[in-house]
């Protein structure tokens, strides 16, 4: 999978690139509108991570350039402005998703995977891991071919773990993934804990192994080893 990161902030660009490389992506970066336009003309990407506030132009304008290329590229818009207008405009112009700074890398990963699933495999691809089989299109999960009855939040939680295997997911990151930015922080950890416990119980009851380990005081991690 080939990804282009368009981001003017050096440190962010490098961190994202390093992270995505670890996730087996082939990464290219652009630090300006100009460079991005150049690269888009020369190469084809599976997904573009696009910061809309660039020093030499508005990232939203790049969207139309990308669209004229007609090459089934997924676009994830990144903005420091949590503004609905930008979001709606971005999505109208053909972006697949929108993410606001600051975001978790696990969240970025999860969003990229979701975009790719929709774009590249038309949502039909299933996600498998050990005894788990997950059908994103139907939002169904099977353990040893037995259907697991999950609430929407539990399903999302499991998917989040499965797309971020072997990564410590902090409680904050999970809470934000499930409920967005605006829930008061005090509730969220209890929330995460409650949902996770319910999920674990259901998995165990269905005969699955509990791969989710608690990283004390920090969060949780789905371990494959």
């Amino acid at each position: 999978m080939k990804v282009l990161i368009v981001e003017d902030e050096k440190s962010l660009r490098e961190t994202m690139a390093a992270f995505l490389q670890k996730q087996d992506f082939v990464c290219e970066t652009a630090d300006s509108y100009f460079v991005a336009e150049d690269k888009l003309a020369a190469f084809e990407y599976d997904i573009i991570i696009l910061d809309i506030t660039l020093p030499d132009g508005n990232g939203l304008d790049l969207l139309s350039t990308i669209k004229t290329l007609e090459n089934n590229t997924g676009i994830l818009v990144v903005s420091a402005r949590n503004s609905l207008d930008d979001k709606i405009r971005g999505l109208d112009l053909g972006a697949d998703d929108y993410i606001t700074k600051p975001f978790h890398l696990s969240e970025l990963n999860s969003r990229i995977r979701a975009v790719l699933r929709r774009r590249k495999f038309n949502g039909t691809k299933e996600l498998t891991f050990a005894e788990f089989r997950l059908l994103p299109e139907k939002r169904e999960v099977f353990i040893h071919h037995k259907k697991l009855e999950l609430t929407p939040k539990e399903y999302e939680l499991l998917l989040y773990f499965l797309t971020n295997k072997n990564r410590v997911l902090t409680r904050q990151s999970i809470a934000e993934h499930l409920w967005g930015d605006y829930m008061d922080m005090a509730d969220r950890f209890d929330f995460v804990y409650t949902h996770l416990n319910n999920l674990r119980k259901k998995i165990r009851k269905a005969g699955g192994n509990d791969y989710i380990k608690t990283v004390y005081g920090v969060g949780y991690k789905l371990e494959t080893e």
């Binding site: 962010l12 949590n82 008061d184 920090v218």
Partner: protein, 414 residues
Amino acid sequence: MKLLHKINQRYLISSAIVLLVGLVIFYFLINNIASREILEGLHASETRIVHELGKHETVPHLYPLIEVKPTSKTGPAYVKDTTIFDPVEKENEVFKELNTFRKINGQNYHIIIRALAVEKKDIVSSIFLSIAVIFLLLVGTLYFINKKTTATVWLPFYQNLAILKKFSLKENRKVFLHQTGITEFDELNKAVSGLTEKVRADYLSLKEFTENASHEIQTPLSVILMNLEEILQQNLPEKELTKIYQAYEAARRLSSLNSHLLLLTKIENGQFEAENTVLNDVIPLRLEAFQPLIKSAGLHANLVIKGIFQVKMHKVLVDILINNLLSNAIKHNRKGGEIRITISENLLEVCNPGIPEPLDEKEIFNRFVKKGSKGLGLGLAIAKRICDTHHLHLRYAFAENRHCFTVTREGVGR
């Protein structure tokens, strides 16, 4: 006290003093003129009587006006006031009397001539009466003029005042004041217009600055958070992990605080478009989302629907409002307590038992008031702001050991 009343009061008080001084002056003046006239008359009469006596040696006796008595006494003439019973008027009257002693044709006469004096109390009362009438006329005229001027001269002033009373920075509108055609008012208008314009400009630039600063903070925060998150992925000893996690959590908190403050700004700026939303549809969904938490806290929720509450509000804001009220009711609940949600046509009420004493109603909606919770202290402030900007009232009440938050429509009684 109104300016007009104040001016009129001064005016009337000084008029009253001037009139009182006038009364005294008038009294002495009139008294003086009257006595002089009477005296002149008395002397004229005396001259005529002396003339008559010289010619006919007798004059008609006209008591009490004229008395002529032969006498052996002589002396200078004198004037005095006497009180005599007047048989015609049948009462005591004050007379001015002139006494002279004359030798006419070898005979000494004592001539007494009297004239009715103008009584002092008559003078006083008549002057007082006329002054009182003048004073009343003055008051009446003033009242009339005031009424007229309030309706005409002061009208633009009051109109401008009404405009200024409505002035709000949040509405982001220029203030247009009426021209009054009165120099003082127009100058005031100019000063006030300049002032509001400056306040508005300062407010806008401050707001812009805050917004930009908030947005600018997000990028460095992203750098911090991403890098900390990556360090957390490494297999570090627990001690180090805890330290990094603490730094990470603090940065998260900062970021969350920032985005909440930005949310508040956005609500105040009206950047959320209103759409018709039925609270009855939203609340069950929110309740369901909270269900695991409610259950794990050993609480139970009761939803009582008495009517359909429809609001004009962006869906995101409705969610935030309901979330904040519900999470507040969960957070500050008693173990095993109830969350009672009542919806009617004009009311949404969320009640829960909690600490057995009422909270400070004025304080709880302020920013950063936490009351023993670990949150940011912005939940209720945001809920309040959302209500305020959507013609709704958010109120707090404590009754029967229950803390209740109610959302009502503006202008609709509870």
